[in-house]
Symmetry: D2
Subunit: 152 residues, 4 copies
């Protein structure tokens, strides 16, 4: 097979994790329906856990995501990345760590890490990139008051 | 906010798409339950569409994924990436394009592109990286016969 | 354990199936992520297949569900029932049969049957009950023109 | 439209709810991805909440469902019913109540009720019927020790 001109991209090293930063942490448990044929959590559920994580992140920063939307701002997902390191099985409990990696009026990046409850071994890590839009899906800027809270 | 030592990673340019390569193409339609509160398809569904895509890819290469597993090999997802460019709405039809980006006995990379049905505008693009394991979740090598078929 | 006063309800015999009626039929295939830990399709997916079925039912009656909503009417699910008879496995193809069981301006009942592709053996059967609301979630009546099309 | 011979079944009165019985109660929160195009939780998620409920029910009875499966018994879902009364919205917190409605060596019925957190208003109610199988999907009987724990 011919080498792709983009093949260098395969070696993406996403060390974008909440490790070196202040993060918030929540506990989750794997649901039966989240397990697939291999007996482990299906890859798409991690994006859902990331989402639960950033919902909780905003809540703890005293700006629940529901309120951000109520003010007419949407954090539209434009990029997701996840690296899966250890499998999760039915009924496993684990921690989701979320940190704010980057914020500007028009763009936010959250980083995530899923770790085992006791030994804090890394289960998965990843990030999501969001742009800010209004309710008509037009790109816009988050007001400083919201940015300040998320950054706090 | 302090710059992350990893912040260069944010500018990942994944032009890993099926564009320059032979790809197979299938048609899908957005289900009602795949739409979220914003009225567009939720980000996690794209990983499911990628999966439907590679299932079909293997089938057309005459080595249905079911048979790969029946022979004791599992293509475990270790990395997923998706870039979301245009929203998908309820009942929209779209095309999923899948190409084999890279294959070695222990690792496979598939690239994906979702495009609009008529004008072939890019809706999303991404890739998944898989390692090969046996049924005990131990890393192993795909037999040459399977590799040959996937590559064909 | 004390007998429940409602225990007669356990013997619900839902022979509400599309059998004796005109039905429309579509083909679906089980996705990898729809399989659970037992190796069979998870029970919640059947409700999604029912939904795909009624979406297609409306489309073939020349009144796509999207258009019903565009006219300001919502068919809100108020009851779902499913009886699971034979398991579905990864990559299985099957047929979804949908019939209109009952329609009045304020209430619609659809019946469903999932059957195997070749021998038409029953995989599952069930029904969904819908009330009609406007965009403010207030109960209202479907206009005669829509009822006529659905009934056609 | 000709009346169905089974139309009496439409008036199923499922008063099978945990009300009159001892039930266990857990708190859940609606995830963003569980919301559909209408802005409310999609009907299929209720079956997932029922499942989370019975998982927790078994855990509190000191017989985690994982252990039941580890002993070679599976509680296969053969029937699900749900009545939807009040909508759930993004980030809403609610209670899931689960009670054992009926148990015999070969069959178990769980009843569920979702209620609002403060005023305990009914959001939804339903039940699931399970038969017992071994790992080969053959019908079998639950051992008395497990039945005793579930009943306790």
């Amino acid at each position: 097979m011919k080498k792709s001109p983009n093949s260098e991209n395969f070696s993406i090293k996403t060390s974008i994790t909440p490790k070196n930063k202040s993060f918030i942490e929540i506990k989750e448990r794997v649901r039966y329906s989240e397990i697939d044929r291999m007996g482990v959590a299906h890859n798409k559920n991690y994006l859902e856990w990331f989402e639960i994580g950033r919902t909780e992140f905003c809540r703890r920063k005293d700006i629940p995501y529901k309120k951000i939307e109520a003010q007419g701002y949407y954090l539209v997902v434009v990029e997701t990345f996840c690296k899966y390191k250890k499998p999760l099985r039915y009924d496993d409990e684990f921690l989701i760590r979320i940190s704010l990696e980057n914020i500007s009026p028009k763009k936010i990046v959250f980083a995530y890490e899923l770790v085992t409850e006791k030994e804090k071994k890394i289960i998965a890590s990843g990030y999501t990139v969001h742009i800010v839009t209004n309710s008509k899906a037009e790109v816009c800027s988050l007001p400083p008051a919201i940015i300040k809270k998320i950054r706090s």
